[in-house]
Each structure stands twice: as structure tokens, then as C-alpha cells.
């Protein structure tokens, strides 16, 4: 297993390097201009100077190498400093390496990302957890009672769940619950700190709609998967063996079948984790949750290339890592698989 992980990690390096080059190249060719959103009253020569101050006049390969260095050398130092309190970089040093700065905010991209992470993780994480918690029992029961009324209704609802785009269902929710009933706020307040019961209620209120929409969507996906995985297993010989031993149905389904069926589902869940960090661009947009997804889309719109590059590259790393995690999980959960 260890050798398998090492092997996969070694393979990940060239993959990630190629990805970083692709990302950098695509973004570099992108036609946007960070000064494009400035009012026309700002004269063009001023804009030109702004572009120079952002380093846009330097050749691509130099910026790429600098960015790589910033990403892999400079930023980790800052993160370690933050976590441990050690002083790795002398702030007085005029040649101290520069962090990756966002063109829009002129602030370090990593700070922005860390600032955006809590709300994204909270909402998407909760939606993910609720989705899975809802989906697994539904999927199990639907498969167990295949073609029963529960299964048919469940199938229909889950189908609707992932057929109705979140921007449509989200829109309807806002109109019903924020505008008409005024139960929940239509804006998500990221500055809210939960200090007492009241602020806790406030926090819950502002999370209900986005979490509901997303968990419904997640649950729909996972429960379909769970159901078909259960169906794959329910007809296998070992289930008959378990029944022939006189075990009761609960044990047969929950110990024998579920155990086997969960293996692909858990790996699917692992593969979905990078998505949590990626943020739900559209849902965040609709419910005004300024999370990572919103950061990405505003960065794209504002041609904030360092932010887009860094974010997408982090997503790529997460995807690679969680692909590996999924494979490792498979090996752990399924005794038949031995990686070497």
C-alpha cells in the first residue's frame, strides 16, 4: 500500500506540473485585462502604469517560474509561520520574497482563500454531510424494496433533485422564503460571529436555504449511486448464503449487503470532497455566500489572473489528492484489493 501511494504521488508530480502549465498558459492567453473594469475616466496612460505595476509587462515564462516559486516555496513558509508562530521570513528584509498577490485586492491570494474557506466549508460541508446522511438510507431502502412505491417516489424525487438546476430551485426558494415569507435572509453575512444563541439562530437561518438546495442535489446523486450499488450486491450469491444461515433481514442488508455496497459509494464521496473546496459557484452566487466559488468567479470576471491560477491549481491538487484517497480507501475497505 505504501509503495502504491508513493508510486501514485510520483505520478502526480508530472501531472500537476503539466496542469500548472496548462492553467498558466490558458490564463495568460486570456484576453481580459485587469484594468478593463476601471471607469473610462481613468486615462489610458494611467492604466498602462497600473498594468506595469502588476508585473504584466514581464514575459510569461518568467512570471510562471516566479509563480511556481511563490506557490511552492514562499507561501508554505507563510503558512508555517502562521501555524507555528516561527519567524521564517524577516519582515525587515527588503528582498524578502513576495507572496502571490491578487491583482484585484493587492492582498495575498492565500489570505483571501483562507478568509473564504470557512463559509464555503461550512455550507458545502454541511450540505455534503446532510446529503450523504439522507441519501444512504434512502438509497438502501429504495434498492431493498426495488419498484415499491417508496422506490418509485424516491426515484422520481431524486431524479427531480438532480435534474432541476440549483439556480432554478434556489431562485424559487429565495422568492418564497425570503421575499414572500421573510423567514430567511436573502444575503449571507460572512462577518457574523456566533457568540450566543441569537447569533446562532441567525447563522442557522442564513444557512438553511443554500444548505437545503445543495444537500438535496448531493443527496439525489448519492442516493442514486447507493441504490444501484445496493442492487448490484443484493442479487449476489453471498446474500443468499447469509439468508441461508438464518440471519434476519436487518443483518443481511445492513451488515452483508450495505458493507459491500458502501465501498464504491464511499469512494464517490471521497471524490466529491475537492468539490467542497471548489465551492458551488452558482449556489454561492444565488444566495450571496461569498465563498471560494464567488472568489473564483469575481476573479475571473476581474481578470485577476494570480487568484484564478492559484485557486484552480489548488483545486487540481485537491482533485489529485482525493483521487488517491479514494483509491486508498477502496484498498482499505475492500480486503480483496491489495495495492502494490
Amino acid at each position: 500500500m505504501v509503495r502504491f501511494i508513493i508510486r501514485r504521488l510520483l505520478f502526480a508530480i508530472p501531472t500537476l506540473i503539466v496542469i500548472s502549465m496548462v492553467i498558466f498558459a490558458i490564463l495568460d492567453f486570456a484576453p481580459g485585462d485587469p484594468t478593463g473594469n476601471l471607469p473610462l475616466t481613468v486615462p489610458q496612460d494611467v492604466k498602462e502604469r497600473i498594468r506595469e505595476s502588476l508585473g504584466l509587462d514581464q514575459p510569461t515564462h518568467i512570471r510562471y517560474v516566479r509563480w511556481l516559486r511563490q506557490f511552492f516555496v514562499v507561501e508554505p513558509q507563510y503558512i508555517i509561520e502562521d501555524l507555528t508562530g516561527l519567524q521564517l521570513i524577516n519582515p525587515e528584509d527588503p528582498d524578502a520574497p513576495v507572496r502571490i498577490l491578487s491583482w484585484q485586492t493587492r492582498g495575498p491570494v492565500f489570505d483571501l482563500i483562507f478568509q473564504r474557506m470557512p463559509q464555503t466549508l461550512l455550507i458545502l460541508g454541511l450540505a455534503y454531510v446532510f446529503g450523504a446522511l439522507l441519501a444512504i438510507p434512502v438509497g438502501v431502502y429504495s434498492a431493498y424494496r426495488q419498484y415499491s412505491a417508496f422506490d418509485n417516489i424516491g426515484t422520481f424525487i431524486t431524479m427531480v433533485g438532480y435534474s432541476v438546476p440549483t439556480y432554478f430551485s434556489g431562485l424559487l426558494m429565495i422568492i418564497i422564503f425570503s421575499v414572500q415569507l421573510k423567514w430567511f435572509p436573502s444575503f449571507y453575512d460572512t462577518t457574523l460571529e456566533v457568540t450566543n444563541w441569537e447569533t446562532f439562530v441567525q447563522q442557522v437561518k442564513q444557512m438553511i436555504m443554500p444548505v437545503t438546495v445543495l444537500s438535496f442535489f448531493n443527496a439525489a446523486q448519492v442516493s442514486r449511486f447507493m441504490r444501484s450499488s445496493m442492487l448490484d450486491n443484493l442479487n449476489l450469491d453471498y446474500v443468499r448464503t447469509a439468508r441461508s444461515k438464518g440471519l434476519n433481514e436487518r443483518v443481511v442488508v445492513l451488515i452483508h449487503v450495505l458493507r459491500n455496497s458502501l465501498i464504491p459509494v464511499i469512494t464517490l464521496l471521497a471524490l466529491q470532497i475537492p468539490g467542497i473546496f471548489g465551492g458551488a459557484i452558482i449556489t454561492e452566487q444565488i444566495f450571496k455566500v461569498n465563498g471560494l466559488g464567488q472568489l473564483l468567479i469575481t476573479a475571473i470576471q476581474g481578470s485577476d489572473i494570480p487568484t484564478v491560477q492559484t485557486l484552480t491549481f489548488i483545486f487540481a491538487i485537491l482533485i489529485v489528492i482525493f483521487n488517491l484517497v479514494a483509491d486508498v480507501l477502496y484498498g482499505i475497505l475492500d480486503p480483496r484489493i491489495r495495492y502494490d
Partner: protein, 309 residues
């Protein structure tokens, strides 16, 4: 040689069941899936309406008439009008053409890429590793941001090259197709690996059939099942992706009313003329729902375990 050996005479008694082709069998099974049938029926109605509708309902989707702006359904405008007084029904019909064409074309692109890569990787061991690493890399690329960037990047050059409509259409379907083929490739590869082990492939080799014909005659037809399911899901995925792009304001330009675009433009009017949101929202959801149901039905119908149950 002309006479059969004596041991075989009785075989005249062989009886065969009612002649059913393989796809006939699939269809029979598919028919059992009520959701899929329902989905198929609605989708056919949609397609007919969208492609034949404009011949019957000849209102110009682009005609502006501020006098009748922001109307709900009326006799003159059965689906109401938008804020410029354009007829929503006409816009829905022409939008549907684009949305569905995007769905199907993107699916075809994604499928042909996925099937090609999958078959090559599965059949030729030499290509397997490089192609699968390529697939892994595409899977690890953060698709949505790149999608957005690519669209912004090439939108205008393609518009200039192919005209405003074809250009953006090509771009969107290519981009959606080129970023959604990986799962098909993986599934097809897996399937090819198992089909390759089947004795009928060995039989073809032992006959002396060349690789090209083995691929075309033996491998490809037998990996069609997962491909068909992937096709159905691919259409749904492409329609959703296109509408999501439009919803972010990055899909088709505003004078090009896809359903996603209509929904995006209508969303602010949800209180004023709710129909502007309802029609495109329901159209997208229903189409995707139908396609998903069809995919589900196909999956069941093509599943050898379930067949003949």
C-alpha cells in the same frame, strides 16, 4: 460435405422463439420502465414542438414591441412577453433549438472523444498508460474555471471566424464536449478490457481478422451499452452546463436566447412576470429530467443482469 452427418437429423426439430433482434429486446425491456417511457414521450413532444413549432407559430422571436412588454400569457402571446415585448413562446422555441442542439452536439463530441480514447486505451496496451494519464490529467483540471476562461478567450475569435451564431455554438459545444469525455473514456476502456477477453474476440483473431475490423465489428458494438447510457447522461449534463454558463452570463450572447439565457434574463422579473422564469426553468428541468429518466431506463434495459428478469 453436402450431406449432414447422421447424428444431426433430429435437429430439424429445433424450435426457436419469436424472432427478436437484440435492440428489439432492449426496447422491450425499456418499455417496462415507466419513467423512461414517460421521459421519452415528453422529450419527443419537446423536440417536435421545438423544431416544427416555428413553422406553425411564426412570430419573430427578436421582434421588439415595448407596448406589450412584461405581459403574462395572453391570446396574442400565449407564453407572455419579456420586458422588451418580445414573444416568449417564440423565444422559448428558438431557445429550445439551441439548448437541445447544444445538448446533443456536445454529447456527440464528448462521446466520440471518450469512445475513441477508451477503445484505443483498452485495446492497445501500448496506448493504455499514456491515454489514461491524459484522462487523469483532464479529470484533475478544474473544469469550470477553465471553461469560463476558455469561453472568454476564444469567444470573439470564433465569432469572427464562423459568424456570431455558429462561432459561439461551436465554442460552447466543443468546450463542453472536450471537458466531459473522461468518464466515458474510463468506462469504455474498462468495458473494452473485458470485451477484449471475450472469446469471440479471440475467435476473430484466430480467424485472422485485422485489428481495425476487430475494433469496428467486435469491440465497438459490444461497448455500446455503457456508451448509450453515457450519451443520455451526456445530453443532460451538456444542457445543464450550457444553462449554468448562460446563468453566469458567460454562455451565449444575449441576442441568442437559449433556455439558460432566458432564465438568466428572466430571473429579475420573477415577481413581475413569473412566467419568464417558469417557462425556461421548467423546460430545462423537464428536459433534463426526461433525459435522465431515459438514461435510467437504458441502463436497466441494457443491464444483462436485469434482462430476462
Amino acid at each position: 460435405m453436402a450431406t449432414a452427418p447422421a447424428s444431426l437429423q433430429v435437429d430439424e426439430k429445433f424450435e426457436l422463439g419469436e424472432h427478436r433482434s437484440l435492440w428489439g429486446d432492449v426496447w422491450l425491456q425499456f418499455r417496462k420502465h415507466k419513467g423512461a417511457l414517460f421521459g421519452m414521450a415528453i422529450l419527443i413532444v419537446f423536440i417536435l414542438a421545438i423544431y416544427l413549432g416555428p413553422f406553425l407559430y411564426t412570430v419573430d422571436a427578436a421582434y421588439i414591441d415595448p407596448i406589450v412588454a412584461n405581459q403574462g400569457p395572453t391570446l396574442a402571446h400565449p407564453f407572455g412577453t419579456d420586458n422588451l415585448g418580445r414573444d416568449m413562446l417564440a423565444r422559448m422555441l428558438s431557445g429550445g433549438q439551441i439548448s437541445l442542439s447544444v445538448g446533443f452536439t456536445a454529447m456527440l463530441i464528448s462521446l466520440s472523444l471518450g469512445v475513441t480514447v477508451g477503445i484505443l486505451a483498452g485495446y492497445f496496451p501500448i496506448l493504455d498508460n499514456p491515454l489514461m494519464r491524459l484522462t487523469d490529467m483532464f479529470l484533475a483540471l478544474p473544469i469550470l474555471p477553465l471553461l469560463l476562461v476558455i469561453i472568454m478567450l476564444f469567444r470573439d475569435s470564433l465569432r469572427t471566424a464562423f459568424g456570431p451564431e455558429t462561432g459561439i455554438f461551436l465554442l460552447i459545444v466543443t468546450v463542453i464536449g472536450a471537458t466531459s469525455w473522461m468518464n466515458t473514456a474510463r468506462v469504455v476502456r474498462g468495458e473494452v478490457l473485458s470485451v477484449k477477453q471475450q472469446e469471440y474476440v479471440t475467435a476473430a483473431v484466430s480467424i485472422g481478422t485485422v485489428n481495425r475490423r476487430i475494433l469496428v465489428r467486435h469491440i465497438f458494438p459490444n461497448v455500446l451499452s455503457p456508451v448509450m447510457v453515457a450519451a443520455a447522461l451526456g445530453v443532460a449534463n451538456a444542457i445543464i452546463t450550457e444553462s449554468a454558463l448562460s446563468f453566469l452570463g458567460l454562455g451565449f450572447p444575449s441576442d441568442y436566447p437559449t433556455w439558460g439565457r432566458l432564465l438568466f434574463e428572466g430571473k429579475d422579473f420573477i415577481n413581475l412576470t413569473p412566467t419568464r422564469v417558469v417557462w425556461p426553468g421548467v423546460a430545462i428541468s423537464l428536459t433534463v429530467l426526461c433525459v435522465n429518466f431515459i438514461g435510467d431506463g437504458l441502463r436497466d434495459a441494457l443491464d444483462p443482469r436485469l434482462r430476462g428478469r
